[in-house]
Every structure is written in C-alpha cells, then in structure tokens.
C-alpha cells in the first residue's frame, strides 16, 4: 500500500484553535474542581521536593534515634537540634518528614501503577474492540474473570506469593487495575470504530496499527483520562490498605498506610499525631485526586454541554 496516501482524518478538522485554553477555562468553571487541582499540585510539589522540605531522611536508620520516640508535635529533638513539627513515631521518626516521604511513595506507586495499567488495559481493550471475534472474547472473558474477584483479595494473594516491596506492590496494582481500563477502552473503542472516519481510513487502506494508534486511540483518550485519575486514587488507597495490613512496603520505608498502621496502635493512648496526620494527608490526597477526576469527567463528557 502506498504510503503517500493523504489521510484527511488524521486530525479533527473541527478542533478549535486553542483547545487547551478552552479546556482550562471550562475546567476552572467549577470551584471544587479548582480547589482539587490546587491541592493536588501542592501535594505533588511537596512530594517531589520532599528531601528539600524535610529535616530528616526518615528512611535512613542512622538519622533515627528511638530515644526521640513518641514526642508530641512541637517537641525539640534531644540530639539532632530541630523541632518535630508533627511529633515523632515510636522509632523517633519525624512525622512531618515521614509524611512527605510517604506521599512520594503513595503518589509514585499510584501514578506508576495506574499509567502502566492504562497502557496495558487500553491496548488490550482497543484490540478487542477493533478485532472483535475470538480475540475480543478471549480478552473480555479474562477481564470478566479478573473483575469478579475483589481487588484486595487479588492484591493480597499476589503479594503473599511475591513477597513485599514497592516493585511488587506496583505489579500487584497493575494486575488488579488493567481490567478496568480494558473494559472502558473496549466500550469506547466499539463506539468509535463504528464511526465513519474509521471506516473511511479502513477503506483508504491505512494500516491497522495506524488506525489503532492515530485514529482510534486519540478519540478514546478522554474517558481513559478520567478512569486513570480515579484509578490513581484507588491505587493509593489500595497501597495504603496493603501496607496497613502489613504486606505492602518494607517497614523501614513507611508509606502513608504503614504510618497510619504504626500510629493506630497508639490511638487510645492519646498519641494521636502518629496516625491522625498521615491519615489526614492520605484523605486530602485522595479527595483532591477525586475532585480533579470528577471535574475532568464533567468537562470531557461529550454528552454534557459544559
């Protein structure tokens, strides 16, 4: 097939001149969406700059001293000469620093697992939608099979077999999340692939991979973005749950879930700061992501005139 065939449908001729600005404007029309976005940006920045913003590397055992353990917020360190803004846990870990580092793990795990799951899930979903037949049946039955199990159960089983570690947590999350993406991608893909522009590309002899990548995928992206945002929040809470249950990250590198779990034992003894602050951070993070996801869904929904 000659490669110089003009492909008139490669770009949407209807697109406005400044799509990004229009998008931003319609997104910001909702106050809750805006608040969520601001919070999320702040949280991401805090996580990225954690080493600069914190006093202590909570993952370096040499910087911890159990004689500084269980100090209330505002107490000053006996040895290191700084103030523990949010107190310390039983190992003498500065809660403020630990939360910043914990956010890094939580967000990192969430974003990496959701992105990987999105790539795998969307690819399989689109292939299923476009090819149909046996390929579709095989992929979708696998998806059904996967979705019929509670996610936490699958994740627990995977971690029990593979052992702990951030890499394994990400792997487990990818394995439980890809199915959601595949199902969404297939749904959208089915709708799109019946449309004339796909048929036209097909008739014009555009190769399959190009139709999938250049025509089908871009038009399926909006719903996938919404799902991805929600899945990041879900992955974060799932990671926190796994760590809370003691099968997630290593105990010397606590994520937010593990910090909550450690502090949880002190709940009734009045040392609230060990679990309340990481708990609040987790709550704010997930709420912020969900607000952004909600707003994106509204803005990107073609049926809704925003």
């Amino acid at each position: 097939m000659p490669s110089d065939i003009v492909d008139p449908f490669a770009r949407d001729p209807e697109a406005t001149a400044r799509p990004l600005r229009d998008f931003a404007r319609s997104y910001l029309r909702s106050p809750s969406g805006a608040v969520g976005l601001v919070l999320l940006v702040l949280i991401v920045l805090a996580a990225l700059c954690a080493p600069l913003l914190s006093f202590q590397n909570p993952y370096d055992l040499l910087q911890l001293d159990i004689m500084d353990g269980q100090l209330p917020p505002g107490a000053s360190s006996m040895a290191a000469g700084y103030t523990y803004l949010l107190g310390t846990d039983d190992q003498g870990r500065d809660m403020y620093s630990a939360i910043l580092y914990g956010l890094r793990i939580s967000l990192g795990v969430g974003v990496i697992s959701a992105t990987t799951a999105a790539v795998i899930g969307a690819t399989l979903g689109l292939i299923a939608a476009y090819r149909g037949g046996r390929v579709e049946a095989a992929i979708m039955r696998l998806v059904d099979f996967q979705l019929s199990f509670p996610t936490i159960l699958i994740a627990l089983m995977i971690l029990a077999v593979l052992g702990k570690g951030i890499g394994n947590v990400i792997l487990a999350l990818v394995l439980v999340e890809w199915a959601t993406f595949a199902r969404t991608a297939r749904g959208v893909g089915l709708v799109e692939s019946r449309k004339e522009y796909i048929e036209a590309s097909h008739v014009m002899g555009v190769p399959t991979w190009r139709i999938l990548l250049q025509h089908l995928l871009p038009n399926c992206i909006p719903p996938l973005i919404v799902i991805a945002t929600v899945q990041v929040a879900r992955a974060i809470s799932l990671e926190a749950t796994l760590s809370f249950l003691g099968v997630g990250v290593p105990i010397t590198q606590p994520s937010l879930g593990l910090l909550i779990s450690n502090g949880y034992q002190y709940m009734f003894s009045g040392m609230y700061w060990m679990s309340v602050f990481p708990g609040l951070s987790l709550l704010v993070t997930i709420v912020a992501i969900n607000l952004v996801g909600d707003r994106l869904r509204d803005v990107l929904n073609p049926r809704k005139d925003s």
């Binding site: 702990k164 003691g246 709940m267 708990g279 909600d294």
Partner: protein
C-alpha cells in the same frame, strides 16, 4: 467513582470507630456468682483440648478439662486430678488419683480415662500441634484403681510437668468422638470447674460452673469468652464495661489505663524469651553479604561478630521505649523464677563504640549488608522492635534492611524456606517459651545441636552447635535430683549466653486489664483463667 468512595469511607470508618465493631452489650457490673466476661486477644481455635496447643486454647480448655498435675501462677506443680505423685526410680513415676473427681456427666474419673487421654492426645486426627512431644517417651500402666504408673525410656525428671500439658477426657465419651464433636459440645465433657454451654467460632465461648467440682469453687457461675483481636477495640470494650477482663493490654495503652480509677492491671512476666537468632550453620548465609551484594563467608560463625551485635543492641532502650513496660530486657534464656535461671548472669550495658571496634577487629571495618527478618503480627510490637534493632545495628556500620511478614509465612520460611529445606534466614527475631516451667525445654529444643532423628534442637533454626554444651544438656535432662539438675542447667545457661548461641532480647510481660473490683495478680504462662480472678475486698 461510587465504589471508590464507599471503599474509602469504610476504611476511614474502620480507623475511627474501632470500638464500634463490637456487638453492643449491656454493661454488667461483676458480682459474686455472676457472669465474668473476658475479652481475649486470640480466639481458641478448637474446643478439642488435644487439637492445638496454644495459649488461647489452653486457657479455655483448662476451664473444662483437668490435668493430673496443675500449674500455679508461677508455674509450680500443684495437685490436679492426681492428689500426689512420686518418683519410684529414675524411669518410673507413680501418680495417685484423687477420690471423688467426676466428669460433667457424673461419671467418676478413672485410671482408664487417664490412659485413654494420653493415647488420644498423641494421635488426634488433623491436630495442628501434636502432644507426642511431651508424651512420646512414656508408657502408661494401671497399677490399681487409683494408681497410674508412668515409665519413661530415659530418666526424665519433669514427667509431672510434661503431663500437666495434657487434658484428661472421658474414655466413654471420647472413644468415638471427633474434634467436631468437641466444638459442638457433644463430647466436650471434662472434669474441670466449668461445663460447656456454647461455642460460636469468632463470636463467643460460654461455660457455666460445674457444681460437682472436686476443688475450690470459682466465684463466677458463668464465664463468657469473647475474641477481640484488635488491641484498641479490646481496650475500648473494657473501658466501656462491655467486658470485665481483657488479656494482653497493648503497650501503648498501659500508661493511660493505669491512671483510670475504674480499672486495674495485672502483670506477669511470661516464661517466654524473645530473641535474635543467627545463621551459624551455613558457610555462606544468603542475607549476609558484602555491601555491594556479593557473597561473603558467613560472618556469624565468628564469635566476635555475634558479640559485637549483642553489645550494639540496647535492650534496655527497647524494653523502655518500644515496649513501654510490656517487656523486661533479657540477659539469658529464661526469666528469674523459672527452674534453671542463672542469677549470676548479668545484663550487659550496650556500647556502640566498643561494638564497632569489635566488628573492626573481626575484619569488618565497614560492616556488611544484612537483612533482618521477623514476624509482624506475632509478638507485642514486633515490627517496632525489629526497626529499633536495625537502628542500633546501623550505628555500628551494618547496612541493614528489615523484612517483617505475617507470622504464618515467616515461620514456614524460618524453619525450611532455604535451599534444600534448611532454615532460610541469616538473622531473625523469634521467641521461645519454657512451656514446662523449666529451662530444659529451651536448652533441648533451641540450644542443643539440631538432630532430626532424636528431636533435639527442633527449634534451633540458627543451627548453633557446641558438642560440649550438648553433652551437658543431655546430662541435665537425665538427672532426677533437683539440686544437681539445677546446677547443670545454670551452667548450660552460662555457656549458651557466653557463646552467644542467640541474643536474648526481652521477656514479654503479659498485662491483663480488669474492672477495679476484680483482683488478679498475673500468671507466667500467659493463660487467662476465670478461676484466678476474684472479687476484690
């Protein structure tokens, strides 16, 4: 989206409302001949008294089933179904059965019942822990209607203690009964101070007083055991009056419960020692490597390295800061009060600088890389203890990682997860209890060289081996004279500690919480028995 919020909210609810998970029950004040409600951290896994020997099961079964010898609060032998016993010669013991002891169905307890119980306990279908460890070396004979003769293969000075582990059941009832029949209550007929009423797994066990009991009558006509595994929920249940007594008060709650005028705490130093074990068997240990990850000869074969580790770990700080009084720093294999404890062994003061120098002298000026393994749901604050140990070893230059995992995975790997089915870990946290109230169990199972055939060293997962010490342990175990035996055991303890077979870390202190009108002074075997609780005043 919706599903998401639900998950999230339910998680949050679990965090904030730990206590609300409990079925709300009216708060009873305790009274004489009333009901005692006990909140237990661990649930009894069966009502069959021979099925699984762990603290929770033994606690419950002790209410329903007598033993021929009982243990008092500090694990001294006291008469149970046998009113007396004597050592005829090294290998032979005779127990005289008490007159007037009856089962809950009215049948008298006979020597046949005893012999039947010991036979069954060694061979229960599907049992998790087999009592053969205590019964295997013994033959039981009926001398007359009231005398049981026990003959051992080797001289065995602790026959009464070993028999104290095994519940006596009725032959008539037990011959055809399966473990399920005990759970349903059909076969749950013993001679203990309480009778079976109800067993609902995960929810409740109820027993009521057996009025025909031969011994002292307990003060409570009915006892209810409720499993409340979460520490915070257990404390909340006690504070709100839903339960009268709880076992294993979490360390973090000891301080504020102590200040509560409506409550009282009872303590007992457990007969258990929590310790760190080194791999001393393999020439190359998988989790002890050079800092770049390449294999090095097993550093723990070097006594200096073990000594440096012992010196680097501040046991007092761990007991004080991490366990907040729920543990006493351990200087040897068993706490004071247990037979064989050597009072001359003193607790060492930690000295990181000296430990670092010793490590240098041993040929590791820059330390090495090590993974410390341990359970995260077995001992009080176990993962916090692991981290504290890691912190202290990091200070002498060990690049240390901590891998804490659920106990059911940990123990399997610790026993046989390595190549060729050997113990997997290089350096790990475990515990061992002197279940018979003597140091001999620890010496035999933990310190003696591993020998699959004889069962010696069955818990020696580090494969420590010292032939001189082995000989001494075996000599002690065959010495019937108490004074001589104690002297030998003390020597064994001193040798094991000097040799750093393991690093003893702490003795857990079990803490019970109860309403202030109840009195209980604590037990060393961690059991919670309604018979031990009395109305104050």
């Amino acid at each position: 989206m919706e599903l998401d919020r639900r998950h999230f909210l339910s998680g949050l609810g679990m965090l904030l409302g730990a206590g609300s998970l409990l079925r709300s029950a009216p708060a009873y004040a305790v009274e004489l001949d009333g009901t005692l409600i006990i909140g237990m951290s661990t649930e009894s896994s069966s009502m069959d008294p021979h099925w699984h020997i762990q603290t929770a099961n033994s606690s419950v079964s002790q209410h329903l089933f007598d033993r021929i010898v009982h243990m008092d609060a500090s694990q001294n032998e006291v008469p149970g179904l046998a009113e007396s016993w004597r050592n005829v010669d090294g290998n032979t013991w005779e127990f005289t059965l008490r007159e007037g002891a009856t089962f809950h169905n009215g049948d008298p307890v006979t020597v046949e019942d005893l012999i039947f119980s010991y036979a069954r306990a060694s061979d229960v279908p599907g049992a998790i822990f087999n009592l053969r460890a205590y019964l295997g070396d013994k033959t039981f004979e009926k001398v007359d209607d009231r005398t049981l003769r026990v003959i051992t293969e080797q001289p065995n000075p602790i026959v009464p203690r070993e028999l104290a582990t095994t519940a006596i059941i009725s032959k008539k009832v037990g011959e055809t009964a399966l473990p399920e029949d005990y759970n349903s209550g059909k076969a749950c007929i013993g001679s203990g101070p309480y009778k079976f009423v109800e067993y609902v797994p995960g929810q409740v066990i109820q027993v009521e007083r057996h009025d025909g009991y031969w011994g002292e009558k307990p003060q409570w006509s009915r006892v209810v055991f409720r499993p409340i595994p979460t520490g915070g929920s257990r404390v909340a249940a006690l504070q709100s009056g839903d339960v009268n007594v709880i076992d294993s008060v979490p360390p973090s709650d000891v301080e504020h419960l102590e200040k509560d005028a409506k409550l009282r705490l009872g303590r007992g130093t457990a007969n258990r020692m929590i310790f760190l074990s080194f791999d001393q068997g393999r020439d190359v240990s998988p989790y002890a490597t050079a800092k770049d990850g390449s294999a090095i000869p097993n550093p723990f074969k070097n006594h200096l390295v073990r000594d440096a580790f012992d010196l680097a770990i501040d046991k007092k700080a761990i007991a004080e800061r991490i366990l907040s009084g729920n543990g006493a720093p351990a200087e040897q294999l068993v706490p004071a009060g247990i037979f064989g404890h050597n009072p001359e062994i003193a607790l060492r003061d930690a000295d990181a600088a000296k430990a670092k120098a010793m490590l240098e002298e041993a040929g590791y000026p820059d330390g090495f890389k090590l993974t410390l393994h341990g359970p995260n749901d077995r001992f009080i604050r176990d993962s916090a203890v692991l981290q504290a140990v890691a912190q202290m070893l990091a200070r002498i230059g060990i690049a240390i990682e901590v891998d804490a995992m659920p106990a059911n995975i940990f123990y399997k790997r610790a026993a046989s997860g390595g190549e060729g089915g050997v113990p997997e870990f290089s350096f790990f946290l475990v515990g061992y209890g002197a279940a018979t109230g003597e140091v001999s169990g620890v010496l035999r199972n933990l310190i003696h060289s591993y020998d699959d055939a004889s069962g010696f060293g069955s818990n020696n997962r580090g494969r420590y081996s010292n032939p001189d010490l082995d000989a001494l342990i075996e000599e002690g175990m065959a010495t019937v004279d108490d004074a001589k035996r104690e002297e030998i055991y003390r020597k064994c303890c001193a040798m094991a500690v000097a040799d750093l077979a393991v690093i003893p870390l702490y003795y857990p202190i079990s803490v019970w919480g109860m309403q202030s009108d109840i009195q209980f002074e604590g037990r060393s075997d961690e059991r919670t028995l309604a018979m031990d609780f009395h109305l104050a005043g």
